[in-house]
Symmetry: C4
Subunit: 379 residues, 4 copies
């Protein structure tokens, strides 16, 4: 099904990126104000289907509160600068002022400072104190050590995230005799919803769903500047990754009766990208760079992924992002621009209105057109 | 039929843009002067299959007359500056002189001035007085309020147009209990031909045809700078949209015996684009930017869509258009250039002659080649 | 077979350009000097499968001789400057010195000078006197008037060529009652081989073959700067056009026992393009711009098609061509460059050697790969 | 199977480049340090699946030793400057300082100096003395003359390489009556492993395997700047070439029980390209330009293929390469950059870890996605 012969001895499958798709309007349109963008995740209701990615350049304990007020869900990187420095202000200042050539190297030095578990607790509590949903991100490597402190801090929602996350990760220890790390054991210990990812295939998504996760992240979101596909040749174009994970969700629902949410993670820049991701099957999206581009984002014109802070390969560089407007303007406008980088949720709302869909679940049924050609320059 | 697996859980269909097509010459060629470009719309005969789009930058009451003389049909935006200002000259002057950065914002301010229904009547009468067919465009939101005045002014032809128009639009009122707006009820009240659009799918086209419209606009023509596809992810490449609407026309003709005309709306720049649109099934084309680029166009080097004037999303910006020649030169030459942006109708005529077709209806049968590759640089 | 659904109401066929193809080496390679590039056309043998296009910027009576010596066949435009001016040197000088803005317009003025039939005879005799094969090109419009003089001048080979040539062209006269112009009647009157074109489809090629032509030109060669496809939307990508004409040749051969040669006409820039055209089925190629780029070409850095000289649409502009080397260097080297624009025949020879083919007829059987991707940047 | 109709009279097959592919992560990931990159070639074990291409700009007798220490296999061009000059230092200095315009021409002059068979022996012995595996490259034209000296010098491994190599090459001599050159006869005379190539098709690969070669090079690696495809139209996109050769390897293994290694040769720039090549079926890769770009490469910022040194067509030019880091950094890092041009083996290791594969043989089974779209710009 869809098999392509790369050569006589190897076959592949065609994959599609979001930018190859457009959404076909249905026969009925509706007013934008009649469109409902809300969604629920295990009892938490959000007005907007958007998560702020756990990057120090995107989410701080402070702006997590304003993001929550706007209707989204901000995820704090619990291994970021806020968990390494009692007062990270100096570190942020330094990064903002670094020349481009040395930014990535210095960044890695700043992240040499160890994670302080007490600070992790403190940061979670700060977010909770603001009244926002306290969501934090941890890498699979650290989840075991941090788990008791997360419980202690009463974290509302946990994200376990790395560039590519599998349900069973083989490490030296496990290879030396023990079992591979099993996400399931950790997830079952927690009372709170757990989001895991990223993954890019049907099998990986299905196995992550079987860990008991409330949601699965789909994509290669943690690699700020597309490191994964370009450097490693690894990855699946996002539209195909989401559609494959959607099939996994259907199977998992059929087998267990449990609906696991899909969060499209990374690679979306405009409201149209968000709309396409949802039409492919995503329940919500996780955004990094578009939010780092807000004038009031912690990164102050720079964006870096958690992965940038680690010494091992893959390296991800610290990149400049063009600043467009405030967090609010990026998310819900008002916008004076027509390039789709501001008012992402207004654009999503309009896309749904124009296409005639009232809710996100309905919009997932939208008809799609594949059109690799350049669609710019219409009049 | 033509289904593409985007991923295991979602399928789509391949769509084609006009720029992916070329027309295959038949085995017989003919002289260009033997080609007949005329067409009829409910008793009105036009020498050229071209409509000027209802944008203030394209059509004024004055140049509607010259466009009519050349053989085309100019559509005045009845919610434009001419219906808001007794003397819009100052507003046009100001727009022409605005710096690029502030043009779009100031434009929206200028359109805050309310539509004056008496002026609407006056403008229609001015066009009628010139001897031209008086065609005007109204948005679905205003059609109910304006209808009596249009009748009073003896409008010859009515265009109901928005970015995406459906036969049944759900508004707050209708959702609160009543029925959705029903275009059919308005169209049946009018004795004059009504053109409606734009739409981009088989189902939407079919439903618009069933409203009793004389013609359906196909495309995303009102979004000057391709706002729709880029910002919202919504849309269908024009060749596919036309070919789908053509199938709807065939079905509607079969069911009712009524032939509804298809007007390709937007996204065409050269005579070759016009030729391709007709070969796909369009009976005529509606042009915006190519006509705004005329040195004697009202926009004087700027082009903006009606949508640009509204506060709500989608925003469309005011764009600069490179001026090529006069309205006459753009339409029927003479042209010294070979880039296809002048003498659009001469190019269409030559395309038909080279391909061996004598009339527009015959030309719709032309054989097409899909060729996504870059076709430039031949020798 | 190969049908593509453009939309529900219109289908097309996928077409391929030469630049989408590569030739697969066979299992046996051979030395380049063992490759035979010769071919025969009704008793005339040529060492190289290349014709110089009938453009004033490419062929003069003088350089036709040197082209013949190199092994190719130069075709003089019998309606060009040499047939309009007793001494066209001043006209050529003026064109060479024109600023780009005014070149095309002035060119058309220079070609207002009527064709002098005595000069036509004189030019043909000059080529014959040089010992070269005297081949000249005439448009279908003039063939009737010029025919007796061509016979009188003992033209060796006649090319009847226009942008798109069909076997039956409908003109005002013919439409008013008479028969369409019938190429067949002219071709049968001539004892010499006649080459006709250009055409781009199976049906058109088949009908041209049935006129009794010795060879059919395939492509849109006369439109110097790709006017046809871009301006009119008319045309077929060259690889597909050749392969379609090849099928027509097979059918014609089957029906009549006569092998009609195919000349790929235009759109080729490098030796690789020539090789691909032959692998698709061409027996030889007709080159314009690559030869106009020779430092000793009559155009002296400018190139224009015969069509550029006519007042009617299509217009083709006078373009600048980057000068690379002499006619000899362009054709047979030596070349210091690796961009493929010099030593076109050496490149063709190497392509055949690398692929393991000894003769042009064998090379037409080469296996082809379609690869739309960018193939540059290998190491 | 996979046949494409180019036109009615000619068919082709779709070919894929490495840049059109991405690797799908499997459901299990693993730590990078658990990945094993080693491979064996007839008793020689290498820690890294990488060969340094036999270009004077890439491999010198000195840096062959360091390359060997890093775990790769360096191949010295036995017809290069080291075999023509007792002390080639002056020649290398001159090339490094040449202006771009004259570099290629002067290069050819420098290579006019005849190959000195005694120097060939000396260079091989120098590499052996360093403790590295002594691998050298010879063209098919010279293999007969050099063979006894290679045996005398105790060469460890022989590479017979030209742009396109076939098992049976027809030369003037052979055409005049004798048999075509038969690689098999030479290969059987040698006790050492022989690597032959490059080839790009199933048939050619199969025939090269039947010569008794230990490994077959796949690609058009010797043409530094993609001369082959662009200039000649000859070639097969690398992913398809490897996958076709893989099928030949399976057949040869089935027929003979002998596993012939596939070396992807040329056209790879990043660790991702290397990963894709192996996922297509390559056992190792041969790199030219990426290694010539090392700051300590012999080419000192210039790169030229052996073919550049020969007078006959095809010409390949001497190109500038952007210098990134040392040979060690290019191969195994450390790397501060995320563009994938440094730490190629670290990137390959990460690709395998992310995808969940432990060994190269396993990685060849990785699932592939074809995605021609631009995958850059993710966030």
């Amino acid at each position: 099904m869809g098999e392509i012969e790369i050569g006589l001895g190897k076959a592949g499958r065609r994959g599609y990126g979001l930018d190859e798709l457009t959404i076909v309007p249905s026969r009925r349109t509706r007013d934008a104000e009649l469109v409902d963008l809300s969604w629920e995740l295990q009892g938490y209701r959000f007005e907007l289907p958007v998560l702020a990615a756990p990057c120090d350049s995107v989410v701080s304990p402070t702006n997590a509160a304003s993001f929550d007020e706007l209707g989204g869900l901000a995820v704090l990187d619990l291994e970021g600068l806020w968990s390494r420095y009692a007062d990270p202000a100096a570190a942020f200042d330094e990064i903002a002022d670094l020349p481009d050539e040395t930014a990535s190297a210095r960044l890695r030095e700043l992240y040499q400072q160890p994670v302080d578990h007490d600070l992790v607790v403190e940061r979670i509590r700060a977010v909770r104190a603001s009244g926002a949903v306290a969501a934090g991100s941890v890498t699979p490597q650290r989840i075991e050590a941090l788990l008791p402190r997360l419980v202690e801090a009463e974290l509302d929602m946990l994200v376990i995230r790395s560039t590519v996350l599998s349900a069973e990760h083989v490490t030296k220890t496990s290879a030396d005799g023990g079992e591979p790390l099993n996400l399931k054991t950790f997830i079952r210990q927690l009372d709170v919803p757990v989001l895991v990812g990223s993954c890019t295939s049907y099998q990986a998504a299905l196995h992550l769903m079987r860990t008991g996760a409330a949601a699965v992240l789909v994509g290669v979101g943690t690699a700020v500047d597309a490191t994964t596909a370009d450097t490693f040749g690894v990855g699946v174009p996002l539209a195909t990754a989401i559609a494959d994970a959607r099939a996994a969700r259907m199977r998992h629902l059929d087998e267990t009766g449990v609906y696991v949410h899909l969060i499209a993670d990374g690679g979306m820049h405009t409201g149209g990208d968000v709309a396409r991701a949802i039409a492919c099957g995503a329940d919500a999206v996780m955004l990094g760079a578009p939010l780092a581009a807000a004038s009031d984002a912690p990164g102050r014109g720079r964006h870096w992924a958690p992965v940038a802070a680690r010494a091992e390969v893959p390296h991800s560089t610290c990149v400049r992002v063009e600043q467009h407007g405030t967090q609010r303007e990026v998310l819900v406008g008002p916008s004076d621009s027509s390039d789709g980088r501001l008012d992402l949720m207004g654009s999503l709302r309009s896309a749904m209105a124009l296409s005639g869909y009232e809710s996100l679940k309905e919009f997932q049924k939208a008809e799609l057109i594949v059109s690799p050609g350049d669609r710019r320059g219409q009049s």
